[in-house]
């Protein structure tokens, strides 16, 4: 390793530039971005000419957006040395509570008030499960894997239990706006280029996701709490001995992840205007895998918001490409698995190489 730094220190422009390029290329985000570009070109060359083109891209963004709400806090939780399997259960519980509340209370109050109430109930469910996860892991020292597996099943069971085998359809029409409202639509009429670039038709979830990404980045890299997340995941005891409140970091992380999962559920309920208890499947592993592909370490202490964003893009691009290329959809999981395997193998390889230097 010292050899690398001696090289950096050496004068001589070419060498310095060379090492700067090498350092840039050694960043996971940069590597991943290159992979995404190459992947896009390959898919386009393979016949799907419109892949991530001007028509497809806005649709793609709105498809990725609900997962994006969850992948950011999940990446932060992973960086803090924890992870949460319960998000799918929480999202589905939130979906069902939304449907249940609507079918019980529709007409008894003002529609706007009802929508606020519904959203509040969904998010509160997330808050409660997140707090249970966080307190179980920090206060009762329960294992996060088994704890969140248990709360996943409980939340999922509560969802199917409340739904009682039916999905509710008595939604207020304006509830759809949570997922379908296009905030830039009017702006697009004034500025036609926004319309041409199809930015004006981006629906709300893309903006929720943008806000979550920005907040995640800001917290992680620009605040003390963000550095405390890294410290906690890097060495929990060491961080605690230096005065970092590691239990608070973990508790806040679990709550944020669960609330985000609940928000994801609300967005789905709004988009579908229906509330089946199995709306979301595989959310937990999708976002954990995306964060890991993006460079988050399962052992904690490493990762970034940008990496998680790109990792999730990759997951959805594979899905999208499978469909657009007309490949048998049944093979999608094989490709996802192969990508995950490659990412983890690459990670292990770079770590091995760094250790031997």
């Amino acid at each position: 390793m010292t050899a690398i730094f001696e090289k950096i220190k050496q004068p001589g422009d070419t060498q310095e530039e060379d090492s700067r390029l090498r350092r840039l290329l050694s960043q996971r985000e940069v590597q991943l971005l290159l992979v995404l570009v190459v992947f896009t070109l390959l898919v386009r060359a393979g016949g799907a000419k419109g892949f991530l083109g001007p028509t497809h891209f806005p649709i793609f963004l709105s498809q990725v957006a609900p997962d994006m709400l969850v992948v950011i806090p999940m990446a932060m939780l992973l960086i803090g040395g924890m992870f949460d399997l319960s998000v799918t259960g929480v999202a589905n519980l939130s979906v069902v509570l939304v449907g249940w509340t609507f079918s019980r209370l529709l007409g008894t109050m003002d529609d706007t008030l009802l929508i606020i109430l519904v959203v509040a109930i969904g998010l509160t469910a997330g808050l409660i499960v997140g707090a249970i996860n966080g307190l179980a892991v920090t206060r009762l020292r329960m294992n996060p894997l088994m704890t969140t597996l248990a709360t996943w099943w409980m939340a999922q069971g509560a969802a199917t239990g409340v739904a009682g085998g039916e999905s509710r359809h008595n939604f207020v029409g304006s509830f759809r706006d949570i997922a379908r409202f296009q905030p830039l639509r009017d702006l697009g009429e004034t500025f036609p280029f926004l319309q041409e670039m199809r930015i004006s038709t981006l629906p709300m979830p893309v903006f929720y996701a943008a806000i979550v990404i920005f907040l995640g980045w800001l917290i992680l890299t620009r605040t003390r709490f963000g550095w405390h997340i890294f410290a906690t995941g890097s060495d929990r005891l060491g961080a605690a001995l230096n005065g970092v409140n590691v239990n608070r970091v973990t508790l806040v992380g679990f709550i944020a992840t669960s609330v985000a999962a609940a928000m994801c559920g609300i967005v789905w309920a709004s988009r579908l205007t229906s509330a089946p208890p199995n709306t979301l499947g595989g959310l937990e592993l999708r976002v954990i895998a995306a964060a890991v592909i993006g460079g988050a370490a399962l052992t904690g202490g490493e990762g970034s918001v940008l990496g998680a964003v790109l990792g999730l893009f990759f997951m959805h691009m594979i899905r999208s490409a499978t469909i657009q290329l007309g490949l048998p959809v049944y093979w999608e999981f094989f490709v996802l698995g192969a990508v995950l395997f490659t990412a983890v193998a690459f990670d292990a390889w770079t770590k091995r190489r760094a250790d031997t230097q």
Partner: protein, 260 residues
């Protein structure tokens, strides 16, 4: 206590007039059925190095952790600069001017030197981390200690044992702590690095810090310390002035061989 406070022999520091930076007396601490400390005593003056020695399980680390706020003592009194003090957590200890370098260093392997120097005490400007100031400050401290680190942006896991130790000590120096607790500072180091570390500790003494060093290595103890406090079975059995003792006597006190 085999040696009462009145019997404590005095060393190079003028102990008759000066006030100790730190006194910990009658400290006891139990973990379940295990009595880790029963009657521990230690004191340290500004500008001296006190070695804390004892066999495995004698309670050295527990005593250090009581002083650093990682454990709360069951009974006993801690006096800092003449004032009775309560240490409930690491921040209390820090606020009293006590800084601890742990045996496992409590470093964050995936984080760079800057983040390690400032962990728990990050500098902010209107709520936002002041990364430039922290980097400048880190470079200053590293230069001050004349340590040879490749770059303050290097993750600590790429550093050698001696470099990591230097980072851990730089962290302590950077916050201007007056009382330093060093837990086995040379245990993981090679001969050359140990030598550098001991020199670094002597530098700190010249800066008038009060330093408590836990060590198994009596050669290192005798090279740098002024006094030696011996713990056995959680109890302070004596404090010896280096010039008036030798390693045979220290070993006898550590093992309790004189009692057999």
């Amino acid at each position: 206590m085999a040696v009462t406070q009145a019997q404590l022999k005095r060393s190079g520091v003028d102990h008759s007039t000066a006030e100790p930076l730190l006194i910990a007396r009658n400290i006891s601490k139990a973990f379940g059925h295990v009595q880790a400390l029963s009657d521990a005593y230690i004191d340290v003056y500004a500008g001296e190095i006190v070695a804390l020695v004892g066999d495995n399980g004698a309670g050295k680390s527990t005593l250090i952790k009581v002083l650093s706020g990682a454990h709360r003592q069951d009974a006993g009194e801690i006096v800092i600069r003449g004032q009775s003090a309560t240490i409930n957590n690491p921040n209390d200890s820090f606020d009293l001017g006590i800084a601890t370098v742990y045996q496992d260093l409590a470093l964050l392997p995936s984080r760079d030197v800057v983040a390690n120097l400032f962990v728990g005490r990050e500098l902010t400007n209107r709520g936002i981390l002041d990364r430039r100031k922290m980097t400048e400050e880190a470079n200053r401290v590293v230069r001050q200690l004349r340590t040879n680190l490749p770059s303050v942006r290097t993750p600590v896991r790429f550093l050698s044992g001696g470099q990591r130790q230097a980072v851990a000590i730089a962290r302590v120096v950077r916050f201007g702590a007056e009382i330093l607790l060093l837990d086995e500072p040379t245990a993981a180091l090679g001969v050359k690095e140990s030598h550098e570390m001991l020199t670094l500790i002597e530098n700190l003494k010249e800066r008038n810090k009060g330093i408590i060093v836990v060590s198994h290595n009596l050669a290192h103890v005798f090279r740098i310390c002024d006094r030696i406090t011996v713990l056995r079975h959680g109890e302070t059995v004596g404090t010896l002035v280096k010039e008036e003792t030798d390693s045979t006597e220290v070993v006898r006190l550590i093992t309790g061989a004189d009692l057999l």
